[in-house]
Amino acid sequence: MCSGSNSIIQAQKLVDQLQIEAGMERFKISLTAADLVQYCQEHRRSDPLLTGISASSNPFKDKKTCVLL
């Protein structure tokens, strides 16, 4: 009977989990997507990979530097 009661425990867990997920409050994509877009727009100027910052401000880009001999 051990495997039988295990199956029941598993099945009950699944039902409990689904009940938690079903009870969640959800919002329409038109609203949530608007927030995603807004975040991008608000932060676009401070995104170096997006705007492409100059060599002088990006430590990884090569600059024309003087060499100290």
């Binding site: 689904l18 969640m24 959800r26 997507a33 975040y39 990979l49 997006l50």
Partner: protein, 361 residues
């Protein structure tokens, strides 16, 4: 003469089957209800909401540094908060700390196992965590003395019953989150090695995880071989949301910078975006010409760009809002296995099976 069946056992079995059948019906009903609820909110596509957003121009991104030194496939890397140091781990059993500006190696540790699949930098910059086929996650404090043997101070923190696939410090050096081939994720106290919380729910190996960006959020997302991405409450151990739209293993998950969404990369050759408040997938980043799996994904600082490292040796750059590819980057000579954008967003680093790491900007 036939012996009659023992009455008690027969009734028990019947009851068992009835209960199981009842539970099955209940779970099926709930699953259908979930699908209906999610469908109701699908009133528009993300790229439609983003129609008025300016299109992106041409991107010129090149390899600016190549880090050479590993003797075999690079499997994982992580940035230090100082935006210049990087830790990487490899199939050769070595974990190396690099200064990405100069490409110098600052520390190297040889692990007792090969396939070090996971590594992470501590928030303080004073330690690194790593693990893989040893089923453990160990923390190595980084010494200022280059001659000191780092392995001597090693602290074993996590113990899983299968390989360690990913690890990540939480907001401090004191706790580590791990994911494993044993199908679970776990939260550990670094000092004592104590298990603080375990997360059960994946039906197969968990391959990746990412912590929610906000300090108050207390959630993380994980992805696995069961094709599911699960969002977890760190305090209760409860799975609070689950997404199953990928058609194969999920190799990488990464939160959108606002914390309201996350991206995933899969062996099904697609990246997807899941909106946490709408509780559904809202974008798929794919092309017919892209047929190889995605190993790792990360967002640029504003969330507008999604970088994906692929098994066909390339990096595809996607416009997150419009769903289109804006660039494809070549350079690696084997699979890209790991990819992370630097903390200040000035560059991103990739690690590859070609034994090297590259910094792109």
């Amino acid at each position: 003469m036939r012996s009659p069946p023992i009455p008690e056992m027969a009734t028990q079995e019947v009851q068992l089957n009835e209960t199981l059948a009842h539970l099955k019906t209940e779970s099926d009903t709930l699953k259908t209800k979930l699908e209906e609820e999610r469908a109701k909110l699908h009133d528009v596509e993300l790229h439609q909401v983003a129609e008025k957003v300016e299109a992106l121009g041409q991107f010129v991104m090149k390899t600016r540094r190549t880090l050479k030194g590993h003797g075999n496939k690079v499997l994982c890397m992580d940035w230090c908060k100082d935006k210049r140091r990087i830790v990487s781990s490899s199939q050769d059993g070595k974990v190396i700390v690099w200064d990405a500006f100069t490409t110098n190696k600052e520390h190297a540790v040889t692990m007792p196992c090969t396939w070090v699949m996971a590594c992470a930098y501590a928030p303080s910059g004073c330690a690194v965590a790593c693990g893989g086929l040893d089923n453990k996650c160990s923390v190595y404090p980084l010494s200022l003395d280059k001659n000191e043997n780092l392995a001597a101070k090693k602290k074993s923190v996590a113990m899983h019953t299968n390989y360690l696939s990913a690890c990540c410090f939480t907001n401090s050096d004191m706790q580590i989150l791990t994911s494993s081939g044993d199908g679970t994720c776990a939260l550990w106290d670094v000092e004592s090695g104590q298990l603080l919380q375990s997360f059960h729910g994946h039906a197969a190996d968990v391959l990746c995880l990412d912590l929610a960006p906000s300090e108050t959020a207390n959630t993380f997302v994980s992805g696995g071989c069961d094709k599911k991405a699960n969002v977890w409450d760190m305090r209760s151990g409860q799975c609070i949301q689950s997404f199953e739209t990928h058609e194969s293993d999920i190799n990488s998950v990464r939160y959108y910078p606002s914390g309201d969404a996350f991206a995933s990369g899969s062996d099904d050759a697609t990246c997807r975006l899941y909106d946490l408040r709408a509780d559904r997938e809202v974008a798929i980043y794919s092309k017919e010409s892209i047929i190889f799996g995605v190993s790792s994904v990360d967002f640029s600082l504003s969330g507008r760009l999604l970088f994906g490292g692929y098994n066909d040796y390339t990096i595809n750059v996607w416009d997150v809002l419009k769903g289109t590819r804006v660039s494809i980057l070549f350079g690696h000579e084997n699979r890209v296995s790991t990819l992370r954008v630097s903390p200040d967003g000035t560059a991103f680093c990739t690690g590859s099976w070609d034994h090297t790491l590259r910094i792109w900007a």
